[in-house]
């Protein structure tokens, strides 16, 4: 076993910390359309949450999918992977 020397107190170690939104509010990248979930059609299959490249969809087993528009980049991948077409792209107001 190797003895590990911890860093000195108050030492400034240039380490990054996990934070949300490291690239800013990426929701501003959306140009024309945003995805909207039709909760009456949603079957809570979790596929959109698994595939969402923006990591901004969370599926609740009761309430269905919710989208975090602060970070949704508007790629539309969720509309393509949804097996029941419950997500559609609508023009942004």
């Amino acid at each position: 076993m190797v003895k590990v020397v911890p860093p000195v107190d108050n030492a400034k170690v240039p380490l990054t910390k996990p934070v949300e939104g490291v690239g800013g509010k990426t929701g501003l990248w959306r140009t024309m359309y945003k995805p909207v979930v039709d909760s009456s059609k949603c079957t809570k299959c979790f596929l959109c949450e698994i595939y969402c490249p923006g990591v901004c969809i969370v599926v609740d087993p009761v309430k269905g999918a919710t989208i975090n528009y602060d970070y949704c980049k508007g790629c539309g991948l969720c509309t393509d992977v949804c097996p029941v077409k419950a997500i559609s792209m609508v023009p942004e107001e």
Partner: protein, 305 residues
Amino acid sequence: MSAPQTQRPLPPLPAKARGIVLPGDTSCPGCPIPIAFKVLASVFGDKMILVIPACCTSVILGTYPGQSLKAGVIHVPFASAAAVASGVAAALKMRGIEDVQVIAWAGDGGTADIGMATLSGAAERNEDIIYIMYDNEAYMNTGIQRSSATPQGAWTTTTPVLGKLEPKKDVAKIMIAHGVPYVATASIAYPHDFYQKLMKAKSIKGFRFIHLHAPCPPGWRFDPMYTVRIARLAVETGLWILYEYHNGKLMLSPPSQPYLDPSKRKPIEEYLKLQGRFRKITPELIKAIQQHVESNWEWIKKMMS
């Protein structure tokens, strides 16, 4: 406990990744890398150390003082991913830490071209690491230059007129030739298959290699919403074969099993026509790609028997 739905446990694949892969990274819309991270996080949680050479991911995770992944990340020079990962794994062993997995996460340029020497060295020493090569088939981060993993006929900024004329380098085959304990191919379109392979890799000691197919919307010239569709088409046309190699035996993975029969495969034109990088492809090159696919399947059949 009133509604029966609430009693159903959440599936580990998206649920365990919550809070570990964080939103707001700087990836392009439709990027496959965060999808792969979610699968990684559902298997290892935050008990992983990623060693990342220069590639798209070093940009995606963000700049100091933040990063979009709640796990240990080490950014290293281009050629050294496997070497640094070997060192980190040895240091963890010396300190007696056993529940943390060291994962080298490199692109196709950092694996098939620049990182090949250290990768081969680490495989030969059978270091206790997982090496994942996510394959977007060119140097996407620096502006779509040709790599040795670029497929035949594909346009890149360094093969602008005829496209690349040579077939793709098959790194998984090279790793099988090293005799490492576990080699697998995976695709972004089949996250559950990738999850199973990572779970299996987690239970094995030694050098494990996973080759992950990851379509890149800006580099392959397609609409960001078709990332998963194109990755799935690559499997359905037989261009990308999902298999795992363990204990000297090659097993075809469930998503690829129907396509052992050539008549069930979709025509490869279906995969090519969705992508702008194959716009100028000639019928001769399509024929050459078809022959390459056939020879790959012949090799699979030979390895399985």
